[in-house]
C-alpha cells in the first residue's frame, strides 16, 4: 500500500502535539481518512525512523500510537531531564499490581488472599500512581471495591492491550521448586501424622 507523504506528515504533526497515545480511529476521524490507510501510514512512519536510525520512534501502546525517544539514548536523557517517573515500584507494589493485572476485576480481599498480607497501602499507592483504578463494586461481597489496571499501566509496561500480558501459566513455579516446597513442608509432616496425639506438646 503506498502512502502519501502528505498523509504521513499530517499524522506526524498530530502525534507530535499529543501527550498520550492516539488511537487510529481518532486520527482517521480528524484527517477524514479510512482507518486502513492511517494504520498503513503509521507503520511506514515507524519503519522510516528505524531505517534512518533516528533518535526517536513511533510505538503502538495502550490502544494508540505515541512518539518515544529511542532507548539507546536513555542514559543521556536521564541526566538531562529531571524525571519523577523513574522511581522503581517496590516488590510489594509489583506483586499487588501483578495480581490486579491478571485477576481483574479483583477486590482488595482477593489481592490479600494471593499475597497473604494486607495490601491496602500498596493498592492505594498504585491508585495514586494511576496504575490501578476502581472499576466497580462486587455486590456479592458487600459492595467491595473492584480494581483493574489503567491505560497508564499499559503505557508504562509497553502493552498494546491486556491480551499482550505474558501468559500466567509460563510463570508457574518450575517442578523443582514445586517439589522442594512439597517435600519440605510434607516429609516431616507425614511423619508427624502419626504424632497427631501429642500435638499439644509443641508450642
Amino acid at each position: 500500500m503506498t502512502v502519501s507523504v502528505q498523509l504521513k506528515g499530517a499524522i506526524e504533526a498530530l502525534l507530535f502535539v499529543s501527550d498520550e497515545p492516539v488511537s487510529i480511529a481518532r486520527i482517521a476521524r480528524v484527517l477524514e481518512k479510512d482507518e486502513k490507510s492511517v494504520s498503513a501510514a503509521l507503520r511506514q512512519i515507524a519503519d522510516d525512523y528505524v531505517a534512518a536510525e533516528r533518535g526517536f520512534q513511533l510505538r503502538e501502546v495502550a490502544g494508540g500510537w505515541r512518539f518515544y525517544t529511542h532507548p539507546a539514548h536513555h542514559d543521556l536523557i536521564e541526566q538531562y531531564v529531571l524525571s519523577w517517573d523513574t522511581r522503581k515500584l517496590s516488590q510489594a507494589a509489583l506483586e499487588a499490581l501483578a495480581v490486579v493485572a491478571y485477576h481483574q476485576p479483583v477486590t482488595r480481599q482477593g489481592i490479600n488472599a494471593v499475597r497473604g498480607v494486607n495490601s491496602e497501602g500498596v493498592v492505594s499507592s498504585l491508585v495514586e500512581k494511576s496504575l490501578v483504578r476502581e472499576v466497580g463494586k462486587d455486590r456479592s461481597q458487600g459492595n467491595a471495591i473492584l480494581y483493574g489496571t489503567t491505560r497508564m499501566f499499559l503505557e508504562k509496561f509497553g502493552l498494546k492491550d491486556l491480551g499482550e500480558l505474558p501468559p500466567l501459566e509460563e510463570f508457574a513455579p518450575d517442578p523443582d521448586v514445586e517439589n522442594a516446597i512439597k517435600q519440605r513442608l510434607h516429609s516431616v509432616g507425614d511423619e508427624s501424622a502419626t504424632q497427631d496425639d501429642d500435638v499439644e506438646e509443641i508450642d
Partner: protein, 251 residues
Amino acid sequence: MSYRIKTDVFEGPFDLLLHLVSRQKLDVNAISITDVADQYLEHIENMRELDLDVASDFLLLAATLLEIKASSLLPKEEQYFGDELDDLSPQEARDLLIARLLAYKQFKNVAAELSARMESVGRMHPRQAGIEQQFLGLMPDYLEGTTLRGLAVVCADLMHKRAVFLLEAEHVASMPISLEKHAESVARTLRNEGTISFHALLGDDPDPELIVVTFLAILELYKRGLATLQQDEIFQDIVLTSRTPDDEDME
C-alpha cells in the same frame, strides 16, 4: 491512615515462609511458633538493627501458622459451629498451604517479569512537550465546572482530615496501649464472655494500633493457655474461647 507492612527483605508471611522452606524442612503440622521465631530473630540479627516493620512480618507469619495449627487443634475442642464446619485435617491444611505458596510464587515470578518490562520500557521517554504557544488558546478549560467555593471546600476538608490525623498520631505517640494491660483486659472479657470474636474485641472503627495490640494480646493469651483460637479462613474473624490452663501450662 493506612497501616502498611513492608520490609526490604520479605513481602509478607508467604514470602517469609518460602524463604524458610528454601532453607530447611518445615513441619507445618507440628509447627513450633517459638522455633520459627528463633529462626526469624536470627535472620533479623544477621540483617540489621531491629525494625518494627520486620517484627510485624513475624506476626503475620505467626498468624498464618496459627491458622493451620488451630485447625488441627480445634476439632478436639467442643464444636460449637456444629457439623457444617468443614474442619481441615492437618493433611488438608498442608495441601492448602502448599497450593497457596505455589500460587504466591507464581505471582512473585510474574512480578519480576513485569518489573523487567517496566524497566526496559522506562528507557523510552514519551514525547510530552505539548503544543506550541500559538495553539495554547485553543486548549480546553480544565477548570470548567470548578467554582472558587468548591476549591475552598476541598482545602478546608483536607485541613480537617490532617487535624484529625495529627490528633490521633499524637495520641498514639504519647499514650501507647500497653500490651500487658491490654492482654489482661482481653483475658477479663474472655473470662466473662466465655467466647468472643476478634472483631467484637476491637469494637467499631478501631485504629491500627488497637488492632495490632489486640492481636498481640490474643497471641499472648493463646501462648499462656488461657484461650484457644479458631479462624476458618485467612482474614476471617478469629474466635477466642476461654480455657482454664492446666497447672503445667502455667509459668
